[in-house]
């Protein structure tokens, strides 16, 4: 685009055209789009006017305000994040059994929508004490800055650890901890700090909180309980940040024998899930709640046996799947290390509430016509070792398809196949297409 000013603009005879979408002028003589401040102002004004009439969800491009213009003038260094650049990658030192925290931090730093939020400086701190010292969201924002600074030295997240320990006492303590638990606690803390101090606390429920954490991570899990007597369906929708999936042999057979309350039933071998899809199928399969778990039906008023089915009512922008590899039953603890395959691309359509069939049939896997339920894998947290002693690492995806392995301070390139062959403990997927609300 010619910025220096087009000499033909004011001339009546030269040929020009206006682009009707953005209001840009194309000068045929120059052979290029040309910029004129006055015309640009008119275009923006008309654009804004049409947006306010509710015609379209208009994307408004960023216009720097005076303060930002000033900053831009004073700071002339520009950084362009190329595909082959390390910007966005940084090692995290292990502070003493903190590999679980490092893996979660890496996953969050590489969560696309979250990254955009923080790099666009969207966080306005609600906690005004000690100059934002206590706000976990501010701390995370600082960490994003550190990761995108271009500095390659290992980052020391000691302030983050201290903040988490002071804000969430149940997590504090030098010992090996569970990454999934840390993730949920961290999201919870971030969510609270996002809405702290505002009136949001009293009015927002988990279903319509507008903080960035809820916008990205909160999905709706629908639970339908059907009374066997009168077929009345009782529905609840719970907000969730992750989907925890059982591994190992199923506890319940296909409805025939009531299973014992502890231990495993002797279900056929092919019931063991060996893939994420298997896990999800089992997760959304209607199950018969035994005679020991009768529920009072609100419709017919009797204590009846019932069937329960879980499905996804609302999908989050980022879906986190938690493979329950740490088993506790009848007093013994072990890790389930069986291989569970997971795909790079995942279609959640068959597991939606809108897709579920009647309670007697299983969910058919329909080929998703709508692409709004399609997800892409972007982070995998792995655990190696035993339940007593182990080590967390993670794989994260940068740019379109570049994978990297993060092992505390050691960041190395990884092949996609290496990622897909890994054991998998926490799987992070993000929606391929974002929709306006």
């Amino acid at each position: 685009m010619t910025l220096s000013g087009c000499p033909h603009l004011k001339a009546l005879k030269s040929e020009k055209a206006v682009d009707m979408t953005y209001g840009m002028i194309n000068c045929f003589a120059c052979g290029d789009y040309v910029y004129d401040r006055e015309i640009d102002k008119i275009a923006r004004h008309l654009n804004a006017r049409s947006a306010s009439q509710g015609v379209l969800n208009q994307f408004v491009s960023w216009q720097p305000n005076h303060k930002e213009l000033d900053l831009l003038k004073k700071n002339t260094k520009r950084r362009r994040v190329e595909e082959c650049s390390t910007i966005g990658l940084r090692g995290l030192i292990n502070l003493g059994n903190t590999c679980f925290m490092n893996s979660i931090v890496q996953s969050l730093i590489h969560t696309p929508v979250l990254r955009e939020y923080f790099l666009a400086d969207k966080h306005v701190c609600q906690i005004a004490k000690d100059g934002n010292e206590q706000c976990l969201v501010c701390e995370l924002s600082r960490i994003f800055q550190e990761f995108y600074s271009g500095i390659s030295s290992t980052y020391i997240p000691f302030r983050l650890l201290h903040l988490v320990w002071t804000s969430a006492r149940h997590l504090a303590g030098y010992e090996q901890q569970d990454a999934h638990e840390f993730l949920i606690a961290a999201l919870d803390l971030l969510h609270r700090h996002c809405i702290a101090g505002s009136n949001g606390r009293s009015t927002s429920s988990p279903h319509n909180c507008h903080c960035i954490i809820d916008q990205i991570f909160t999905g709706g899990l629908q639970s339908d309980v059907t009374c066997q007597q009168c077929n009345n369906v009782s529905t609840t929708i719970d907000p969730i940040w992750d989907i925890s999936l059982d591994l190992g042999p199923g506890l319940y057979n296909n409805g025939s024998n009531p299973s014992p309350l502890t231990g495993y039933s002797n279900s056929p071998g092919n019931y063991d899930p060996t893939s994420l899809l298997d896990c999800l199928k089992r997760f959304t399969k209607p199950e018969h709640l035994g005679s020991s778990a009768k529920i009072k039906c609100s419709n017919c008023g009797n204590y009846q046996e019932s069937t329960k089915q879980l499905t996804m009512k609302k999908l989050p922008i980022v879906a986190c799947f938690h493979l329950k590899r740490f088993e506790h039953s009848t007093g013994y603890h072990k890790k389930i290390s069986t291989y569970v395959s997971f795909p790079e691309e995942l279609d959640m359509t068959p597991f939606m509430s809108s897709s579920k069939t009647n309670i007697n049939g299983s969910v058919h896997s329909t080929i998703g016509l709508s692409c709004k339920n399609k997800y892409s894998l972007f982070a995998v947290v792995n655990h190696s070792g035993t339940i007593e002693c182990g080590h967390y690492t993670c794989f994260i995806r940068q740019h379109k398809n570049q994978w990297f392995k993060c092992d505390d301070h050691l960041i190395t390139r990884a092949l996609p196949q290496e990622v897909l062959n890994s054991e998998g403990y926490l799987l992070f997927y993000h929606k391929q297409i974002l929709e306006y609300e």
């Binding site: 030192i93 502070l95 903190t98 002071t166 303590g173 090996q176 638990e181």
Partner: protein
């Protein structure tokens, strides 16, 4: 300029080095503790912070010995009634090394077995609700040696002003509502606030205070975090959204069974953790309470 930035931050793909071109050497990085402002090795930060914040196993022992020593020094050896069982403590205590070699050996041994908290699992299986906390005290085998050295000092009504002053100058001093004893942790003790510390000083050293102030002084069992989760859990129950995302991680097969199993599982899950914590708001309340109790008795 574009070319320069390419060279500056280009990913390195050579075997044996990371993406920055560095060899995978062990890092000797340092950081500053936000609590005590000391310089220390980054890889030892977590264990240090645990002690520094008064959370470790030994912290209360150190604190109680600290205050007893202070009192002993100032007021003579007869002022305290209970025996501290000091030699035993010193042997076990990583911080006070009268026997440095033994300490190192024991530390190394613990590290090798990689389960300094192995006993915790058995304890966690008992659950973490308030009602079970009494079980905890008798349940754990090594606790009996601590019975002689509580992390709190009672009988403040019988102390002279001098004794009170001495204690308050070196310890937190907040009086617990449960035991009516004074906290012997440091002034930075995270369990109590500065306001509480101010109040107890006013109470013990100030002018004519009535007995009712006992209630003012102690807000021990109720911490800000609790009120938040309590409030929220009540609110959200009222709003008929009985759960929050932290609460309703999906169960799969079975409902009551799975949820009870999960809670059980949550208590004694994967890695060694502190008291059983589920991340539901409802159980968070009881867990935090038991945290308070457990912190008081210091059996973490």
């Amino acid at each position: 300029m574009q070319l320069r930035s390419k060279v500056e931050h280009a990913i390195v793909d050579r075997p044996g080095v990371d993406v920055f071109g560095n060899l995978p050497a062990k890092k000797q990085l340092e950081c500053i503790c936000p609590n005590c402002q000391r310089n220390l090795a980054a890889s030892r930060f977590a264990p240090h912070l645990e002690k520094c914040m008064g959370m470790g196993r030994n912290s209360s022992r150190i604190a109680s010995r600290r205050s007893q020593k202070v009192l002993k020094d100032r007021l003579g050896p007869d002022s305290l009634k209970h025996d501290s069982g000091e030699s035993e403590d010193d042997y076990n205590d990583a911080d006070w090394s009268l026997y440095p070699d033994k300490k190192l050996k024991r530390l190394r041994k613990e590290k090798r077995s990689n389960s300094p908290r192995r006993h915790k699992n058995s304890r966690l299986k008992n659950g973490s609700s308030l009602t079970d906390s009494s079980l905890h005290i008798t349940d754990v085998p090594f606790k009996h040696e601590r019975a002689d050295t509580p992390d709190s000092i009672g009988g403040y009504e019988y102390m002279t002003l001098e004794e009170k002053k001495t204690l308050l100058m070196s310890t937190c001093g907040v009086i617990s509502g449960h035991t009516k004893k004074m906290c012997t942790r440091s002034h930075k003790c995270p369990q109590h606030t500065d306001e509480q510390r101010r109040q107890v000083r006013q109470f013990l050293l100030g002018t004519g205070i009535h007995g009712d102030d006992d209630d003012n002084v102690d807000i021990d069992t109720y911490v800000d975090g609790d009120s938040q989760s309590l409030r929220e859990s009540l609110q959200w129950e009222a709003a008929s959204y009985a759960s929050s995302p932290t609460d309703s991680t999906s169960t799969t097969n079975g409902n009551s069974h799975a949820s009870s199993r999960k809670r059980h599982g949550k208590s004694s899950k994967s890695k060694k953790r502190k008291n059983g914590k589920s991340h539901s708001f409802h159980t968070t309340v009881t867990n935090s309470n038991s945290n308070q109790l457990s912190n008081m008795y210091e059996f973490d």
